[in-house]
């Protein structure tokens, strides 16, 4: 008889809500028997509604929670003390095939002519968990490698920075030796003191050179692990990390072609560069009304590039002079060392790190250019035009 009755308007509405809701919806009675099991639930748990309606809701939980659930319901009925109703929490669900998955459960309560009923809204958390797990592992990797490579990079940057003046000193000493020799010949007179002091100075310079040499050997022994990588993925992954746990909302714009030539890189090192440039960019624009960081990837012939731009005030000219001089910059913001290391990493990949300081209402823009992996360079030349790849993502506002 029931089947012939036409549903009332509100029944029809409810039916349609249940059918189309993206979240799982379960209604149970006071005895924990399932009354409603919507479409989304069917795909979440793998049961047909017909299989579970009338069953105790326990069949959707891991064995370990079975007894507890009965207790929870009893306690609530006895005390009225709410542990989950109106609060919601993360619990585990059990699919028909026995597999367990994390879910977010919110429970509401309704007084009906047929007694008290409970409505559960379920959201599958396994995808989010996977992402969290993946991010955590990338982050752990990055921290582990960063710790080692920060030391390495410091060593390598220090060696490089010292190497330049030392190269100059050794060349000056050789020139001076020539000069002394020339004077001795011209005046047919020996200058034993000058030669002796020059010899001592040269030996000391060589000693400094061999120290640098040793530092470099130490660093270069751990040869970077280069592999052919997709710069888009490398950049995206680093951006996820950069946006993780941000306190204030930052508008992140990401542009790039879907296909890029491969690059032969140490992905962790390049992610360090992306992370570092992005953090700097966020720092630079956080006082703006609409802090925006724009990250773009593109290819120019056999060079693959990415840039990180902010809408901050730009870099003042006096700051530009010492921007990359980690060991000479006055401001101890840590930006110097990060940038020096970033540039060292780019250069070690036979690439470069360029700066457009901006100013006059324009933010700063840092660009990293890397050579495409040789065999891939000829591919995808026509996909240079930048196209929006992902819609703007907003960071947590928590």
């Amino acid at each position: 008889m029931q089947g012939v009755r036409r549903p009332t308007l509100s029944e029809a509405r409810l039916e349609s809500v249940l059918e189309t809701a993206p979240d799982g919806i379960i209604v149970m009675d006071e005895g924990a028997r399932i009354l409603v099991f919507n479409k989304a639930c069917e795909s979440l748990f793998g049961y047909d509604a017909a299989e579970v309606i009338g069953e105790n809701v326990r069949i959707l939980m891991p064995q370990a929670h079975h007894d507890n659930h009965d207790l929870y319901v009893q306690r609530y009925r006895a005390t009225g003390e709410r542990k989950i109703i109106g609060i919601g929490r993360e619990v585990e669900g059990r699919r028909k095939d026995g597999s367990i998955f994390p879910l977010d459960l919110s429970v509401g309560e309704a007084q009906t002519p047929n007694g008290r009923q409970f409505i559960g809204v379920i959201r599958d958390l396994s995808a989010r968990r996977d992402t969290e797990r993946r991010l955590a592992s990338v982050q752990a990797d990055l921290i582990r490698v960063t710790r080692v490579s920060a030391l390495d990079e410091m060593g390598s940057v220090l060696a490089h920075e010292l190497n330049q003046p030392l190269t100059a000193i050794m060349l000056y000493l050789q020139a001076l030796e020539r000069e002394v020799h020339r004077i001795q010949v011209a005046h047919s007179r020996l200058e034993p003191r000058a030669s002796e002091l020059l010899g001592k100075a040269t030996r000391e310079a060589q000693r400094a050179g061999s120290i640098i040499q040793r530092v470099r050997q130490l660093v270069e022994k751990r040869a970077p692990e280069r592999k052919n990588a997709n710069l888009n993925l490398v950049v995206d992954e680093a951006l996820e990390l950069a946006m993780l746990g941000r306190q204030r909302a930052i508008y992140l714009r990401r542009f790039g072609p879907t296909v890029l030539p491969g690059v032969l890189i140490d992905t962790v090192q390049i992610q360090q560069v992306v992370l570092n440039l992005t953090r700097n960019a966020i720092e630079a624009c956080q006082r703006e009304a609409d802090p925006t960081v724009t990250v773009t990837t593109w290819a120019e012939g056999d060079i693959v590039c990415f840039s990180v731009a902010d809408n901050g005030p730009g870099i003042p000219a006096e700051r530009m002079r010492t921007l990359f001089n980690a060991f000479r910059s006055e401001a101890g913001t840590g930006m110097g060392i990060g940038l020096t290391i970033s540039r060292a990493i780019a250069q070690n990949h036979m690439g470069e790190l360029l700066v457009d300081p901006g100013g006059d209402g324009k933010g700063a823009c840092f660009t990293v250019r890397l050579p495409a992996a040789v065999d891939m360079a000829s591919q995808n030349r026509d996909s240079i035009a930048a196209m929006p790849m992902a819609a703007a993502a907003e960071a947590d506002k928590s």
């Binding site: 190497n163 330049q164 190269t167 100059a168 000193i169 020339r182 036979m350 470069e352």
Partner: protein, 112 residues
Amino acid sequence: MTVHIVEDDYGVRDALSELCRAVGRTVRVYPDGEAFASGANVEPEDTVLVDIGLPGEPGTEVVRRLFRLPLPPTVIVISGLPLADIHHAMRDFSDVIVMRKPLTSELLGLLA
């Protein structure tokens, strides 16, 4: 017989030019590849010293252009990068002399 020095670090550039003058060579210096491209007049018997870690146009590009000349000069590439990396960057050019900083007296032999 001019020595052209393309090096962005002032100290290294000046010291190189002092040493080259000390061995009797005529010297011209350029802080980057662009200055070299617009200002240099390179003869086949000249020597060009190029740092490959230049700002702006990379040193490899400077070298590439030199080897496009009908009679290229002697090209010496200097860099603080590991020798393997310098050789890798120079893999397209067989006639390049590669030296790592700090530069040894070997350089004098090449210049004298």
